[in-house]
Amino acid sequence: MQDNKSNLLEHEVRAEIDRWVAKYPPEHKQSAVLSALHLAQDQNGGWISQDLLDAVADYLDMPRIAVYEVATFYTMFDLKPVGKHKIGLCTNISCQLQGSDKIADHLKTCLGVDFGCTTNDGQFTLREVECLGACRNGPVMHLDKTYHENLTPEKIDEILAAVEDQA
C-alpha cells in the first residue's frame, strides 16, 4: 500500500496537467507525462524532487518506475537541486567551429565553476549541452528558456550582468 502523493502537486499545476490530459484519448493519460514533469519542475524552482516524480506518476495513474524512466531519459529534467538559472552551452561541431571553446573558458572564469557545477551563491548551474538546433548562429547557449546566439565573451558579460541586475 503506497500513499498517493498527487496532492504534492500544486492546485494550479494539477489544473494545467488536466488541460494537457484532455488533449489525449482518455486511456492515454500518460501521454501528458512530459508536460506534467515540466510543470512539476517549474513548481519546484527548476528541479524535480523524488516526491514530485511520484506525485506525477500517481496523478497520471502510471507506474512510478515509468515516470523515473522518462525523467532520467531527458536531460531537460533535473532530479537534483540546481542553481536559480541554468546555462547550457552547446559544444557540438558547428558551435565548436565558431569558437565555443573560448566561450566555455570565459563562462567558466566568470562563474568560477566547471561544467556540471553550480556557483557558490546558487545563482547559476553551468552545463555543456548537445546541439541546440541553432547551428547557423553558433556559438549558442540557453539561459533558462531563452536562446542566446552568436556569442562572444563581451556578450556573455552583458547577459550575466543583466541577470545579476534582476536579482
Partner: protein
C-alpha cells in the same frame, strides 16, 4: 488462414501465418540464438542476436521480429548469417565482463553459451568497459548490473505478465541502466521469474548465490507444496542436498512460471527447527528417543484413551500440506480405531454446507479456461497472495478484455484492472451478494435491497458469456460461508457461469478424496458414524489428539491451545520443532517434508500429481506414510501392509473409480443476514505465513510481503477511539486479550479490524469475531 510452407536451412516446414520466424524454427527444433526474445513476452527485437539470412532480403533479418511469409527461404547458418551473428556477439561483449569464473550464472548462462557457439575466440576490444552499480532489490534476487545486456526481459515481464512494473530502464544510450531506480525490495509475488528470464548473471537467486555450480547439480521433478495449483517444479540438488527450486514447464498449470513462495520456500527445509529424532515427554520433560520407543508410546497412548475413555474421545486434525497417502492412512487408522473425528478444515467455522459439497472442492474448469472468462467475480481472496499464478491467468483474461470484480472484507491490491473493487464488512459482503442476486431476478425468499454497485455488477455479469465466480479463503473462513456459497451458486447459475473454490494448501482436494472429513469416508462415501468437525473438535475438548503437519497457529479455531493443553494425550507428526507444539504434545514424530517423501497432491482441477522423494530424509526423519503404516500395524489394525506408497494411492484410486457418490445435498436455505454490530476482527494468513515450511523460509520472511503484525483500522476509527498510529493497543475478545501496535489503512471498512493470522502473537484471536480495541496503559 491456412498454414504454409517455408524453408529453413534446407528443411521444408509448416508455419502459421502471422507467426515469427523464430517461432517456426523453435517449433521444428531449429535453434536460432537469441537474448531478448522469449516465447511468453512481447517482441522487443533489441538484441539482434537472432539475425538470419532471408533470401531476397538485402540484409540479415532478426528472426524474432520477421513474420513468416509463404515460400520464404531462410538460412540460419550461412556465411552471411554467421557473420552477422558473430558481429552482434562482439558488440554485446564490448561492455560485458569476461570473467565468467567469478559469475554466479557461469555454466548456465545464455550469453556464455551463445558466445561459445556463435562468437569469436578472442576479443579485439582493449578499451575500458562500462560498469553499472549494483542495486539492492531485496532478499530474493541478487543483482550484478554490469553484466546486464539490456534485453529488457525483466522489464517486460513486470509490465506484461506480473502486471506490476518495478524494473525499468533509466537514462539513455550509453548510460542506460536496468533497475528499480530507488533501492527497494521487489513487491511482486512472482518476482523470482526474472531470475530465470535474465539470460546473463545480472539477476540471480540470492539465497542460492555462490552455493553451487550448475554442472554439480542433479535435477529431480517434484510438485510445489504451497497452493492448490500444484505447480510443477524441478528441485536441484548437490550431493543430496536441496540447493534450489526452479519451475518445470507445464502449460496447463504453471506455464513456465513459479511463484516466489514455491521457488524460495525450500530455504525453510534446513531451518534450525528441523526435527531429527522422535521425542517423548516424560514428566513434563522432553527426551529424544528412538523410533521404536516413540511409536510404542504413541500406540500405548492411543490405546489407553480408547480403553479408558472410548474411541469417541479421540480426534485427528491434519493440514492440507499432507499427501494424499498420509491423509488416507491417518483417517483409516482413526476410523479403524472407532473414531470418526477427523478433519482438515482447521480454519473453517461454518460447516453447514458440508453435505452439499461435491466430491472435492476445486475450480470445476481447467486453469487455462480462466484466461477465457469474460466476467470474473473474486469473492474473499487476496488472489495475488493466495494463488499467485492463478492471478496471472486472471490478469491475462482481463488484458483480453474480461471484466474483473472483487468483493472482500479487506482491502487488497490487484495487478489487473478491477471494475468494481468492493471492500465491505463480512455482513455487507452478503448483503451485496443478495443485491446482485436480486438484481438478476433470482428469488431468494428473503428481502434484499439492490444497491447501485450490486446493480452494476449484476449488469456486467449478465452480459458475460463465460462467467466465473471464484471463492477464496476469506469466504471459506467466513462464519456464513455456506450462505455465500449458495448465493454465488445462484448467481453463477443465472449467468450460466461457474463457481470455483480456491482452497488453501496443495492438497485440500486430496483431503476430501482421502476421507479426511468427519462426514465422508474415502472416495466420498457417507461416513458410517458421523464425526465432529474441526470447530467442534477445538471447542469441546477430546481426550486425545493426533496433529498431522499442523502447528497450533495453523488452526484458525478459538480455544485451540486451551483444548490441546487440556487433552490427556497429543501426538504431533511434524517436520519442525515449535514452541506451542512442545507445549501441548506428548509424543513428537518427525516426518519428512515433501522433498523427502513420496506422495500425491490433488490440485484444484482434480489432477492427481504424484512425486517421489528427491533427497534423503534428515537425521532419523521418516516419511509420514511409513510412520502411519507402522502405527497401524502396532495398533494391530487390518490392512496396513502396503508395499510402498503407490499401493496406498492405488487402493484409494480404485475406491474413487469404483464409487459414484450421491448427488450433493442441496445448499442450506438462504437466511437474512444481520447487520454487523460493533467491530469485527478479520484475519488472513499472509502470503508467507500459511504453513510450517514457508514460515521458516527466512528470505521470504524478509521480503516484507507479509505486512506487519499489527491491528489495522480505518483512520477515522482510530480517531473515534482516540488511538494513534504506532501506539500499542489492547485487542480484546471474549476469551483473549493481546497487545499490538496500531496501524491505519483508509481502505478498510469502518468496522473491520484487520489482524493477520499465522503469528504466535495473534494465534489466540478468533477470526471473524467481535473485538474491542482500547489504549494500552
Amino acid at each position: 488462414m491456412d498454414k504454409f510452407n517455408i524453408e529453413i536451412d534446407g528443411k521444408t516446414i509448416e508455419a502459421d501465418p502471422g507467426s515469427m520466424l523464430i517461432e517456426a524454427a523453435d517449433n521444428n527444433g531449429i535453434h536460432i540464438p537469441r537474448f531478448c526474445y522469449h516465447k511468453k513476452l512481447s517482441v522487443a527485437a533489441n538484441c539482434r542476436m537472432c539475425l538470419v539470412e532471408v533470401e531476397k532480403a538485402p540484409k540479415p533479418l532478426p528472426a524474432c521480429a520477421t513474420p513468416v511469409t509463404a515460400g520464404m527461404i531462410v538460412r540460419t547458418r550461412s556465411k552471411k548469417a554467421l557473420e552477422a551473428q558473430r558481429a552482434v556477439m562482439e558488440f554485446l561483449l564490448i561492455n560485458h565482463p569476461l570473467d565468467c569464473p567469478i559469475c554466479d550464472q557461469g555454466g548456465e548462462c545464455e550469453l556464455q553459451d551463445v558466445a561459445m557457439g556463435y562468437g569469436k575466440d578472442l576479443s579485439r576490444y582493449t578499451e575500458g568497459k562500462r560498469t553499472v552499480k549494483d542495486k539492492n532489490i531485496g532478499p530474493l534476487i541478487s543483482t550484478e548490473m554490469t553484466r546486464c545486456i539490456q534485453c529488457t526481459r525483466c522489464v517486460r515481464f513486470g509490465e506484461e505478465v506480473a502486471g506490476f512494473r518495478e524494473m525499468g530502464g533509466m537514462n539513455r544510450g550509453e548510460h542506460l541502466e536496468i533497475g528499480t531506480y530507488l533501492d527497494h525490495n521487489l513487491q511482486s509475488e512472482v518476482s523470482g521469474n526474472i531470475i530465470d528470464l535474465c539470460p546473463v548473471g545480472a539477476l540471480t537467486s540470492k539465497p542460492f548465490r555462490f552455493k553451487a555450480r550448475a554442472w554439480e547439480l542433479q535435477q529431480r521433478p517434484s510438485i510445489a507444496p504451497h497452493d492448490a495449483l500444484g505447480s510443477n517444479i524441478n528441485v536441484h540438488l548437490r550431493r543430496g542436498e536441496v540447493m534450489r527450486v526452479v519451475p518445470r514447464d507445464n502449460e496447463s498449470i504453471n506455464e513456465t512460471w513459479l511463484s516466489d513462495r514455491d521457488r524460495f520456500a525450500y530455504t525453510g527445509l534446513n531451518s534450525d527447527d528441523r526435527l531429527m529424532q522422535p521425542m517423548i515427554k516424560r514428566k513434563g520433560v522432553w527426551e529424544t528417543v528412538d523410533w521404536s520407543l516413540a511409536l510404542e508410546q504413541a500406540a500405548i497412548g492411543l490405546k489407553e484413551i480408547i480403553n479408558l475413555e472410548g474411541a469417541d474421545e479421540l480426534a485427528a486434525l491434519a493440514s492440507t500440506q499432507s499427501t494424499l497417502e498420509e491423509l488416507y492412512l491417518l483417517q483409516k487408522i482413526m476410523r479403524c480405531l472407532g473414531s470418526p473425528h477427523v478433519d482438515h478444515r482447521v480454519r473453517q467455522i461454518d460447516f453447514s454446507c458440508q453435505d452439499a459439497m461435491p466430491l472435492f472442492p476445486g475450480l470445476y474448469q481447467s486453469i487455462e479456461q480462466i484466461e477465457h472468462a469474460d466476467q470474473i467475480l473474486i469473492l474473499g481472496s487476496n488472489i495475488h497472495h493466495d494463488m499467485p499464478l492463478l492471478a496471472l491467468r486472471i490478469r491475462k483474461a482481463q488484458v483480453h478484455g474480461a471484466k474483473v470484480h472483487a468483493i472482500n472484507p479487506l482491502p487488497f491490491t490487484y495487478h489487473f484492472d478491477v471494475q468494481h473493487d468492493c471492500v465491505c464488512d463480512p455482513q455487507d459482503m452478503i448483503i451485496l451478494l443478495m443485491g446482485i442476486a436480486a438484481a438478476l431476478n433470482i428469488s431468494l425468499g428473503v428481502e434484499a435491497s439492490i444497491s447501485d454497485t450490486a446493480k452494476a455488477i449484476a449488469t456486467d455479469l449478465q452480459s458475460g458469456k463465460r462467467v466465473t465466480i471464484l471463492l477464496g479463503v476469506l469466504v471459506e473462513h467466513h462464519p456464513q460461508s455456506s450462505l455465500i456459497r449458495h448465493l454465488a451458486k445462484l448467481i453463477a447459475d443465472q449467468c450460466l457461469g461457474q463457481v470455483g473454490l480456491l482452497t488453501e494448501g496443495p492438497n485440500a482436494a486430496g483431503a476430501w478424496l482421502a476421507g479426511m472429513v468427519p462426514h465422508r469416508q474415502a472416495a466420498g462415501k457417507k461416513a458410517n458414524k458421523m464425526g465432529q468437525d474441526a470447530a467442534q473438535l477445538c471447542e469441546t475438548p477430546k481426550k486425545g489428539y493426533v496433529l498431522f503437519n499442523l502447528e497450533p497457529l495453523d488452526i484458525g479455531q478459538t480455544n485451540v491451545m486451551q483444548t490441546l493443553k487440556a487433552a490427556k494425550f497429543v501426538i504431533a507428526l511434524t517436520s519442525f520443532k515449535q514452541a506451542d507444539l512442545l507445549d501441548v504434545a506428548d509424543v513428537i514424530l518427525p516426518i519428512a517434508p515433501f522433498t523427502e517423501t513420496v506422495g500425491t497432491f490433488v490440485n484444484l482441477t482434480g489432477l492427481w500429481q504424484s512425486f517421489t522423494a528427491v533427497s534423503k530424509p534428515f537425521g532419523e526423519v521418516r516419511p509420514g506414510w511409513k510412520v502411519l503404516r507402522v502405527l497401524g500395524n502396532l495398533l494391530e489394525l487390518p490392512g496396513f501392509d502396503y508395499e510402498d506408497a503407490f499401493a496406498i494411492r492405488d487402493e484409494l484410486k480404485a475406491q474413487v473409480d469404483a464409487f459414484t457418490p450421491d448427488a450433493p445435498a442441496p445448499l442450506p436455505a438462504i437466511t437474512k443476514p444481520s447487520a454487523q454490530e460493533g467491530l469485527v476482527r478479520v484475519g488472513h494468513w499472509p502470503i508467507y505465513r500459511g504453513d510450517p515450511l514457508v514460515r521458516r523460509a527466512q528470505p521470504l520472511q524478509d521480503s516484507g510481503l507479509n505486512g506487519s503484525v499489527a491491528a489495522f483500522v480505518h483512520p477515522a476509527l482510530a480517531v473515534r477511539l482516540k488511538l494513534t498510529v504506532g501506539q500499542h493497543v489492547i485487542v480484546q475478545q471474549s476469551h483473549a486479550h493481546i497487545q499490538l501496535p496500531l496501524q491505519v489503512d483508509e481502505r478498510l471498512p469502518m468496522n473491520v479490524v484487520y489482524i493477520p493470522a499465522g503469528y504466535s502473537e495473534t494465534a489466540i484471536l478468533a477470526d471473524y469475531a467481535a473485538v474491542i480495541l482500547g489504549a494500552a496503559t
